[in-house]
């Protein structure tokens, strides 16, 4: 993205130059301190806009949407072709090859899945001794977004809430806020003002919507325990995601 294509950069340059002109003319020619102060405040605003303009993502949002859609469609095709019907189990990085991933087991009931050691870095993974203890291990939008946080969030509800808010509001700009609570082996997260689409497609029944996937990846990494997305409810201006922690 060029410097001039970024609206924050253009605004910053305009405010800084206009403010400098107003400040100089007001102070030395008009002898008006309030107007000179207004010019100084415009220079400060210009500097802030330029500082924020440098942090905007270089990839246009339209291209990001295309990449997300193509990635999800490929995963959906794979899941549909293999006839997988069970809910995905989100695994922390301690049980995978370094970053959180989702395991979609062949079994329909995720309750019976017990993973005690780290799974190998394979698409098709054996997670147990039995012949049916097989599933596919996929990287989800949540897996990819976790690297944006500087450090692993702590296991408490407050720390989880802060991490989700930082990621969803400050970095990805997909929501207006988030609240989290941990109650008896369940994690309930409320996301205010979600801005990601939650189409009712089969893949989302299995992996959860992209927003639920991001939240689930963050929660399983914070708690260092596998979990499944139990329920996802989209209401007016908020989304409630209920996660169940597996033993």
């Amino acid at each position: 993205m060029r410097f001039s294509d970024n609206r924050h950069n253009l605004l910053g340059v305009g405010l800084a130059s206009g403010g400098g002109f107003i400040a100089v003319v007001s102070y030395f020619v008009l002898n008006s301190t309030p107007l000179a102060a207004l010019g100084v405040s415009m220079i400060i605003m210009g500097g802030v806009c330029l500082a924020l303009g440098r942090t905007r993502p270089k990839i246009p949002p339209e291209l990001s949407a295309i990449l997300l859609q193509s990635g999800l469609e490929n995963t959906a095709a794979l899941v549909e072709e293999l006839g997988l019907r069970s809910k995905a189990i989100y695994l922390p990085s301690s049980l995978t090859s370094g970053h959180p991933q989702a395991l979609i087991p062949l079994r329909s009931n995720p309750e019976t899945v017990q993973i005690r050691e780290a799974l190998p870095k394979r698409l098709i993974a054996n997670y147990g001794p039995g012949p049916e203890d097989i599933g596919i291990l996929v990287t989800t939008p949540g897996s990819a977004s976790l690297g944006m946080l500087g450090s692993k969030p702590g296991p408490g509800a407050g720390e989880l809430e802060t991490a989700i808010t930082s990621l969803a509001v400050g970095m990805l700009d997909v929501a207006d806020g988030a609240r989290a609570k941990i109650v008896e082996g369940r994690v309930i997260i409320e996301v205010m003002g979600p801005r990601l689409d939650s189409n009712n497609i089969w893949l989302y029944q299995c992996l959860g919507s992209p927003l639920a996937s991001i939240v689930a990846s963050l929660a399983c990494e914070a708690l260092d325990r596998p979990l499944v997305i139990e329920r996802e409810a989209h209401e007016q201006a908020r989304c409630v995601i209920e996660l169940r922690v597996l033993d």
């Binding site: 102070y27 301190t33 309030p34 100084v40 405040s41 400060i44 802030v48 500082a51 924020l52 700009d173």
Partner: protein
């Protein structure tokens, strides 16, 4: 980014209100205006804790420049106070 826009609107509102209020009270010293702007910018930047780390680093540079200006004002004021 929505959070950036809200931050810019909030800062613009605070700076404008400060200018209007100080002008209404007849304040004629530019360094008073500048000091108020510096405090507001620092406080507002600290309140927006969910800005991404790159944005916070950029805003830290702005804060350092403003603080350097404040130190310059203090440096120019000391001889006047002592003299």
């Amino acid at each position: 980014m929505r959070i950036y826009d809200i931050y810019i609107y909030s800062l613009a509102l605070f700076l404008t209100l400060t200018t209007v209020i100080l002008a209404a009270f007849g304040e004629s010293r530019l360094d008073v205006y500048f000091t108020a702007y510096l405090i507001e910018t620092l406080v507002l930047t600290e309140l927006y804790i969910h800005l991404n780390p790159r944005a916070r680093r950029g805003l830290s540079v702005v804060s350092v420049i403003l603080f350097a200006g404040f130190i310059g004002i203090i440096t120019l004021a000391i001889p006047r106070i002592l003299g």
